[in-house]
Amino acid sequence: MLKALHSRKEIQLMLGLLLGIPFGFFLQKGGVTRFDVIIGQLLLTNFTVVKVMLSAVVTGMVGVHLLRSLGLATLHPKPGSLGSSVIGGLIFGVGFALLGYCPGTIAGAVGQGSLDGLFGGMAGIIVGAGLFAQVYPRLQNSILKKGDFGELTLPQLFQVNPWIIILPVAVGIAALLLWIEKLGW
């Protein structure tokens, strides 16, 4: 039944919109659509971004793996390599600090009236994505393939049942969040 739903293009476009609206609502209510909050995180003076992200990770990790165990969801881990994930990640980080939003939160920021987000940041991300598409043929078989590990997940890497990883990761994140609260960050 759900497989049939996944292949209905018009319904999926509508679902994208219907999922985006609460996503944007949550991001704005969480305060993470604000430049000051994101820069505060990168300067390690405001831990709102980390709190939102890590509690989403714990909830989603348990939820999605439960759905998977019930045969109701399929995982889609992104493929990666050292050249792609590490170098791309560091480049992204530089842009993150200069812009003060990320590709998702900037959309929420535009929704709350941020003009530097709309005319500066969003335009920039589109131009950057276009530049990458331009140079992609020269990167795809060189640096992006350096240290390639494909669609690997941590349970596959350690060859264990996913729940053996999920449990300690959830406990570890909970402990980290408790510690952050205790320090009053």
Partner: protein, 168 residues
Amino acid sequence: MEWLSLKQWSPYLVGIGIGLLNCVAFLLSDKPLACSTAYSRTSGMLEGLCFGPRVAEKPYYQKFPPTIEWDWMLVFGIIIGGFISAMYSGQFRFEWVPGKWGEVFGEMPFGRWVVAFIGGTIMGIGARWANGCTSGHGISGTLQLAVSSWLAAICFFIGGIVTAMLIY
């Protein structure tokens, strides 16, 4: 319905909400919540307007076709959701320069917009280079325990923290 008009919710409540939303996305759309692909599609659509349909033959646009897809609607929905939330709490206002930037570098929009554009461009390149952003890797990928996502998410913050410390 007073909670809808609150200026801010607990970050934990918001995080749990986003985590549950991800479960719904997996269930109903067979997709994780992710944002940066939509920007590739937009750049492809704009290039197509300027240079014609041959743009779609570029290898990268073969991989991510420049058309309106689920992820594009998701980002469009985020704008609407952010707007609704800000309207409810009376926080919607046009902002030329964000507060912290104004304190450090002054209230002139031009400088801020140039830096935002440069930062956005670098971020756009990095997001496509790493094959995901703070949502696609940072939340949706890490929760699937993908090795690529944990590596990328850690590098987002290393790059971001070092750069922010140098700027401010």
